[in-house]
């Protein structure tokens, strides 16, 4: 079989960059994107600079994938932003930004990906949720609400896209040492870890392990699922 074509959003740094490097290493043709240009490159990897909530930019990325590869096998909706702030101190512009990236971006990329995947009656879409949803984490109202929406999208899209041989699943990481949590005080992170069955920070490998499972051909009977790490 040809090497799989894998699109990952938010690949400039953090989990996204790790996943891009990993799937290139595993022989995938990887396409990535981020709002700002990436300062790294790899053979077998193609980067687009785009805001994932921008419909025209998204359409350009998918048109390019269609032209260059003729198909898409995997989409990992990794791009996400957080706003860690008391709701009374959260400006509306932040609310829109978080919803645009986390919800609108995930929806838009899933919609366009499904159109491409449908042609082969095969596809895997993986979304990123967070343990902050079941933990109802205070101080992150809009981030948690946006990821709860991603969870609902995962479940409904799984049903809508099953007909086309496309599965849609999600993984919900615990805090990982990335820019996303860099601004959060240590005691708050410690309190959060204490609520996990296994009280440690997550790693990129923990997330990749679950995504590997969802991407497997044999996982074609697994859809609409969300797996929380750390025993939450």
């Amino acid at each position: 079989m040809d090497s799989p074509v894998t699109l990952i959003t938010g690949t400039r740094k953090g989990v996204g960059k790790y996943l891009a490097e990993r799937y290139v290493r595993l022989g995938h043709r990887v396409i990535g994107c981020s709002r700002n240009p990436a300062d790294w490159n790899l053979d077998g990897y193609c980067h687009h600079t785009a805001d994932i909530a921008d419909e025209d930019a998204a359409k350009t990325i998918f048109a390019t994938i269609r032209k260059q590869h003729g198909r898409l096998d995997h989409l990992i909706n990794n791009a996400g932003i957080a706003a860690m702030n008391h709701s009374l101190l959260t400006p509306l512009s932040t609310v829109h930004k978080v919803l645009d990236t986390n919800v609108v971006g995930t929806f838009l990329f899933s919609r366009e990906a499904a159109k491409l995947m449908k042609a082969n009656s095969y596809g895997r879409i993986v979304n990123l949720t967070t343990i902050a949803v079941p933990l109802k984490l205070e101080g992150e109202a809009i981030y948690v609400a946006s990821k709860a929406a991603v969870l609902s999208l995962t479940q409904v899209l799984a049903r809508e896209l099953a007909e086309f041989g496309i599965t849609v699943n999600a993984v919900g990481p615990v805090p990982i040492d990335t820019d996303l949590i860099r601004g959060v005080p240590k005691e708050k992170i410690d309190r959060l870890l204490a609520r996990q069955a296994i009280p440690r920070l997550g790693t990129f490998e923990d997330v990749a392990n679950i995504i590997d499972f969802y991407l497997k051909r044999e996982s074609d009977f697994v859809t609409g699922q969300n797996l929380y790490l750390g025993g939450v």
């Binding site: 359409k59 269609r66 159109k115």
Partner: protein
């Protein structure tokens, strides 16, 4: 720019055979019943429509991709009026051709 209306009409005429071609492919794939002749008046979706909602999704996606291949333009044919009996662009082959060609026209102007 002055030639826009006639250009749109020309494109509209070109899109009907394209839609018919896609419908013939769907006929085999999805087992839908098509009349022997596909014209602008052939009902697609809604009253007396020949497509169910999944076949409509397949037609719309295939048409978007065909337009991309033919005209090099990415258009989104999704429309919130899709389920409205009165204004849906998906009512007939002709209404879909007209709707798609107007989007191609807009994309050419803005692009």
């Amino acid at each position: 720019m002055e030639n826009r209306p006639s250009e749109v009409i020309l494109m509209n005429n070109n899109l009907t055979p394209l839609i018919a071609e896609i419908l013939r492919e769907l006929e085999t794939e999805k087992g839908i019943q098509l009349p022997p002749d596909i014209t602008n008046d052939t009902p697609l979706f809604g009253y007396q429509g020949i497509l169910d909602s999944l076949a409509l999704v397949s037609l719309v996606v295939a048409l978007e991709q065909a337009i991309e291949d033919k005209f090099g333009i990415s258009v989104g044919l999704a429309d919130e009026k899709a389920l409205s009996q009165k204004n849906s662009p998906y009512q007939t082959v002709g209404s879909l051709a007209h709707y798609a060609s107007s989007l191609i026209g807009q994309a050419s102007v803005h692009g």
